[in-house]
């Protein structure tokens, strides 16, 4: 296993981007650069599938580890994956080609630059999920801001500048404290290597502050209430593909970070702050669901539903139970697929009718039957109907929550009902009902590429909804290992106190 497969995964999109950059930019060539991007991203997808195939699911260690000297001997470039991160890598490589296929529907200007931005973004996102060194992680985590800022700012809607700034500054502000924490960890323990840190552990007296510093970054990125306000703005103004990337992958970085770093490095602090996370998650679930009910803009509604769904994720992670954490990971993957699909579906009608206001639509089922079917699958997935991935995630999270705290679990269950309410109401108002708006009559049903992208998303949503075993299989050992380490540290801490 000497071939640096993870580094290739990370670098391949950048190489593709450079290739596109140096090809001539005339308008006829636009198509060709799109094919290049598609080819590169599909190759990356296949590579990641191969990775999944050769990945040893029973091992709890990090695999395919590459460790190179990087920062004058004291910080190494270290990447590697375990059962948790491999799923996020595959999610990233799976969503990117879908984004690239759907590009020509929404992006009319500067297509080449857009493709480059997406490919660079893919590099950074894969990097986040693979990195096994805190500094390398921070590097990828922050670097993703640059392409996303440009995607929102250049190709966004009317208030794009405001949204792009808000997105950038919010996330940056959250992250700088994490940098302080990372450097502090270096001076406390002498390393930023995650594997070594797992072994060494961090002294109890430092954990609370460090945990809070990491939390400030992840909470903004997740986003958790009350720092979620950048998300609806960013989603509404971003182009469809930007929203897809944002919802499907960017939000998952924080959830992943919670499991990998907050739980793994600061178990005692995580235990101390569990109640805080519970409360913030519950507020996110209930409050943003209610806000979602009142939205008139489709994208905004889905954005708020994302906040609510991520509330479930954080809740599940901090139940510290096998079911809860597995459910959270499953929910993140599922939300990645479903929210991507929902934003693409909104993009389909937006491109035809140029408005996202719900009350301008109605009765689409009679003119766009195919669209109605796929949109229904996604709606049902989002509200967690059994048989879709959405159900399994939420179910496991609630199971974990019931084990730990019945009151929290009961309040969270209310969120499921609210979720069903706003999603079904959205579906009813857009797809069913009277067609009052005569302009809608001219709308055409799905085009070929839309069928390809949307059905590519329908298949995994239904397949893993009925048969979650392949995903569960790969995360089980790693989650168990994380939990064992976590409990071990807690017991040690108790013992040392007595």
């Amino acid at each position: 296993m000497n071939f640096p497969i993870l580094s290739s995964l990370i670098l391949l999109p950048t190489i593709g981007a450079l290739f596109i950059l140096f090809t001539k930019s005339s308008s006829e060539k636009y198509q060709s650069s799109k094919y290049v991007a598609l080819f590169i991203s599909l190759a990356n997808f296949l590579l990641s599938l191969y990775l999944w195939y050769v990945f040893d699911k029973n091992s709890v260690n990090f695999q395919f580890v590459e460790n190179r000297e990087w920062l004058s001997g004291f910080i190494n470039y270290k990447v590697g994956i375990d059962g948790i991160s491999i799923l996020f890598v595959i999610l990233t490589t799976f969503i990117t080609p879908i984004c690239i296929i759907s590009v020509n529907a929404t992006i009319t200007t500067r297509l080449k630059d857009f493709l480059i931005a997406i490919l660079i973004m893919e590099t950074f996102m894969i990097g986040v999920f693979c990195s096994l060194d805190l500094v390398v992680f921070y590097l990828f985590f922050e670097a993703g801001l640059i392409p996303m800022f440009l995607i929102i700012g250049i190709w966004g809607g009317e208030r794009r500048v405001y949204s792009a700034f808000k997105f950038f500054l919010y996330t940056l502000l959250g992250s700088v404290l994490m940098l302080v924490a990372i450097i502090s960890i270096y001076w406390i323990t002498g390393t930023t290597d995650v594997e070594k840190l797992y072994e060494l552990g961090i002294k109890t007296e430092y954990q609370n502050l460090l945990w809070l510093a990491f939390f400030s970054s992840f909470a903004v990125k997740t986003p958790m209430w009350p720092v979620h306000t950048w998300l609806p703005d960013a989603h509404v103004e971003a182009p469809t593909v930007g929203s897809v990337l944002l919802a499907a992958i960017l939000l998952k970085m924080a959830g992943y970070g919670f499991i990998r770093f907050s739980l793994g490095l600061f178990p005692i602090a995580s235990e101390n702050f569990t109640m805080l996370v519970y409360i913030l998650s519950l507020i996110a679930i209930i409050y943003t669901s209610l806000v979602a009910l009142m939205q008139e803009d489709m994208k905004k509604l889905i954005a708020y539903s994302s906040v609510a769904h991520m509330g479930f994720v954080t809740l599940g992670i901090f139940t510290m139970t096998q079911q809860g954490i597995e459910g959270s990971i499953f929910q993140m993957i599922s939300h990645g697929l479903i929210s991507a699909a929902l934003f693409l579906s909104v993009g389909v009608v937006y491109e035809r009718h140029h408005t996202r206001l719900i009350n301008r639509y109605g009765g689409l089922v009679s003119i766009m039957p195919r669209y109605a079917i796929v949109f229904m699958v996604f709606t049902l997935g989002a509200l967690g109907l059994p048989g879709t991935t959405g159900f399994i995630g939420e179910f496991l999270i609630l199971m974990g929550a019931f084990e730990k705290n019945i009151l929290v679990a009961m309040i969270a269950s209310l969120g499921v009902i609210l979720g069903a309410a706003y999603m079904l109401w959205l579906f009813k108002r857009v797809v069913f009902g009277e067609m009052n708006n005569q302009e809608l009559k001219n709308m055409k049903d799905l085009k070929t590429f839309e069928i390809i992208t949307l059905s590519a998303l329908v298949i995994p949503i239904l397949f893993f909804g009925f048969y979650p075993e392949p995903l569960m299989n790969s995360i089980e050992a790693s989650v168990e290992n994380t939990l064992n380490m976590y409990n071990f540290d807690l017991i040690n801490n108790l013992a040392s106190k007595n």
Binding site: L139, F140, E142, A164, V176, L179, V180, I183
Partner: protein, 471 residues
Amino acid sequence: MENFQYILPEIFISIAIMLFLLVGVFKKNSSNLIYSLSTISLVILLALIINLSSQDKIYLFNNSYQIDNLSNYMKIILVGSGVFVMLTGSKYIQVINLNKIEYPILILSSILGMMIMISSNDLIVFYMGLELQSLALYVLASFNRDNLLSTESGLKYFVLSALSSGLLLYGCSLIYGFSESTNFDQILINSTEFNFGTTFGIVFILVGLAFKISAVPFHMWAPDVYQGSPTSVTLFFAILPKIAALSVFIKFLYTPFANMNDQWQTIIVFISIASMIFGAVAAIGQKNLKRLIAYSSISHMGYALAGLATVSNQGIQSSITYISIYLVMNLAFFSCLFMLKRNDKYYENIEDLSGLSKKHPILSFSFLIVLFSLAGIPPLAGFFAKFYVFLAVIEQSMYFLAIVGLLATVVAAFYYLRIIKIIYFDPEKEEYETSNNLGLKITLAISTIFILAYFIYPSGITEIVSKITMI
């Protein structure tokens, strides 16, 4: 006199200056020739310094002049950036009709003064170097003498700088009075016990140096001088005096005043925090790019000083790394500015950048890289500069300084983003001429690639810098 070969670079450049002056007086219309000759002599000077740099510590002229790792490295980046300043500015001074023989000669003599400053190990030698560079800078600032702003900036710089030099001299005399020596090493030996005289002396000297480096609260001259001077001079101002002043800062703090660190540490921390915050906040409302970069450089100096405040080798090295990366970013930024030319007029307002990305994708991309790097966003070089500084600061558990510094970067990110917004998101304006100036293009390409690819091999500079130890 057997050690004469070690000051060969200084001797060489002094002779070159006088020679060029003679050529300029006796040969008509020789300004282009002298400009090229000066550039070449800077390259030779660089080679001479690099040739010497294998030497360890050498003391010359009764210990009043010292050549060591610090001075060698600082001289290399000083002269190296001097070469690039000459390369980028050549076309500019022709276009705005400033191509006179005095211009390159003044730059050379200023560089000579800085080299003496960097190597000095004695208060008198130091002051001599300082005044040589300052006098040249006064003239350079007002070089565009028909321009009101340029004249104003020269005068302002002269008056304020003379004041600060006065304070500095007063500080020197106090130090001499209380430690009975002007030699740095001797001062260190003689000032083991605390006394008020020396403390006052330190404060006055630090004020003078803070003025040269344009740190808050002695920054008032910087925005006006940056804006008023011809752009090529502004570039010079933005880089070279700062390298020299930072080097002297390190020298002063860690040689003669090394025992007094409890006295000066608080001052440096205060200056550093004030510069970081002020530079970040004041830049937000600016409309002129040169004025904006003046505020930006104030805040960058704050970060460089934060490294010095740590009283550790790690901190000194991080400051030196910071200034090295800072100078490349400034070179790149000003190279971009020199590209904004239309009908023999250079544009320097932020609005002039509106929609630049549609017609000039490569130039805009360079701007993008430079601005994100100045803001300190990974994976660009500017991030690593800040990273090293905070690594050193947190090692000494100075969390307050670190957190304030990092929060200031978020504020600073706002105005850098604003420029990016204007370049990329706003409607386009008239096209600019494509530049055919090879030196400028090379500088822009080298500096942008350096910033962009720094993360691939970040230990290069660190390894060189790690040889510089003061404690």
